[in-house]
């Protein structure tokens, strides 16, 4: 599948497959399959047999299981609600259209998150290209969405304002992280992934993942006013 890239880009945090990833996948083979992985295999079988309607129905369960987490990751990565929405949709559509290439040696979560993150990276690159051409507005869609979203749910304007400021500061701080650090941090903190899982997703060595995580956390603490 085209989304699983073999190259790594240090600037963008692009993902790739390495020997360590394959090793991790091999280790996981002995572990019992997760519920989502079993479901993915079932869908693959249905698609291969041509039972598309049944496959679509089962795929709905898979979407429901991963949708919230995927949206969190995509939003933290892109900082734009509409972009994140589209990225999540694209990732799920890609998963379904390439489900026959899914292998149980990979946990479904890892496979799906790789596709999602690669899609997010592509969108970030496209946005960066677009921003180079056009002058970006001060008030982005993300800001508007956040304002619209937070305004209605909370009655206290002071709390809303504080939350918005904190959110903007955090977004700016995360945006200043190095590409790989951002990927690793986002996956760990918003995707609930362990360093081992991130290692499988990104193709980075597990100890490298830990180093990136530590550096990202230290930098964020410094940027957000905590102790560096």
């Amino acid at each position: 599948m085209s989304d699983i890239r073999t190259l790594r880009d240090a600037d963008t945090g692009d993902l790739g497959v390495s020997a360590s990833t394959v090793g991790i996948a091999r280790d996981r083979r002995s572990a019992p399959l997760a519920e989502d992985s079993r479901l993915a295999i079932e869908i693959r079988g249905l698609v291969e047999r041509g039972e598309m309607d049944e496959a679509r129905e089962r795929f709905g369960d898979l979407v429901a299981a991963h949708q919230r987490r995927a949206s969190r990751i995509a939003y933290q990565y892109l900082r734009d609600a509409a972009d994140a929405d589209e990225a999540v949709q694209d990732a799920f559509v890609k998963v379904f259209s390439h489900i026959t290439s899914y292998r149980e040696t990979w946990p479904f979560e890892v496979w799906f998150t790789r596709i999602l993150i690669n899609g997010c990276l592509d969108r970030r690159k496209a946005r960066a290209r677009r921003d180079r051409r056009f002058v970006s507005n001060e008030v982005t869609d993300a800001d508007q969405a956040r304002v619209a979203g937070s305004g209605g749910s909370d009655g206290d304007p002071e709390r809303t304002l504080l939350a918005r400021e904190r959110s903007a500061r955090m977004a700016a701080a995360i945006d200043r992280l190095d590409g790989r650090q951002r990927t690793v941090f986002t996956l760990c903190h918003y995707g609930d992934c362990t360093p081992r899982e991130i290692s499988a997703m990104t193709g980075l060595n597990e100890s490298t993942v830990r180093v990136h995580l530590f550096r990202a956390a230290r930098k964020l603490r410094g940027l957000l006013g905590g102790k560096p």
């Binding site: 598309m52 979407v63 919230r68 933290q76 903190h189 362990t194 830990r210 905590g226």
Partner: protein
């Protein structure tokens, strides 16, 4: 164990945080140190507090945007997009309404078809009449010109025959005139060459000298 002086390094503290989050056991000597050393314990708690706050803020922000309603809409959109995968491309039929209208239009146009045929016939007749009239005129004018030509040609042919024996100087004058005309025609028409031509003796002049 990596220590900063007698205390734990920041990266070690972060390892403990990650281990605790993942549900993995903390390295026993490190756990022991954290329990026994109040400054390290405080630093560790600070780190955990900051990281948890970061995570909670991020999740809360994302959840505020991706409400259950929005997620439901997103799920429907995914289902709609997935619906088209694995199905052959849909062929859109030609608009039936338009076809029907065209068919009725052709049947109702039976009467105007006669009008078109009559117009075409009229045009054809008009063109044919015009052509025949022009042809008649051409023939008439050709006849007239032939008659006129015959009238003018006859006297010129007869006059010299009648006068040839009576006026021999006129014949010489005619020959001279025709010779001059011939010379004029043979003469170059380019102005630059006229001077050369004037110096060049002509056959006629040589013959006259003899």
């Amino acid at each position: 164990m990596r220590l900063r002086g007698h205390h734990l390094h920041d990266d070690r503290l972060f390892e403990c945080y990650l281990a605790e989050r993942s549900g993995d056991p903390i390295d026993p000597p490190t756990a022991e140190h954290l329990a026994d050393c109040p400054p390290c314990g405080t630093r560790y708690h600070d780190l955990v507090r900051v990281m948890d706050a970061l995570r909670a803020d991020g999740e809360a922000e994302a959840d505020l945007i991706f409400t259950p309603e929005r997620l439901r809409v997103q799920q429907q959109q995914i289902a709609k997009r997935v619906e088209h995968i694995g199905r052959p491309a849909r062929v859109i039929s030609f608009p039936g309404q338009f076809v029907r209208r065209t068919l009725t239009a052709t049947t109702s146009r039976t009467a105007p078809r006669w009008v078109a045929a009559a117009a075409a016939a009229g045009l054809f007749i008009g063109v044919a009449l015009g052509a025949s009239y022009e042809w008649n005129g051409f023939i008439r004018s050709a006849r007239q010109s032939l008659v006129r030509g015959a009238d003018t040609a006859r006297p010129t042919r007869l006059t010299p025959v009648a006068t040839r024996g009576n006026h021999p100087p006129d014949v010489a004058a005619d020959d001279a005139f025709l010779s001059d005309l011939e010379v004029a025609l043979e003469r170059p028409h380019t102005r630059e060459l006229l001077a050369f031509d004037a110096f060049t003796p002509h056959v006629r002049e040589v013959r006259d000298r003899r």
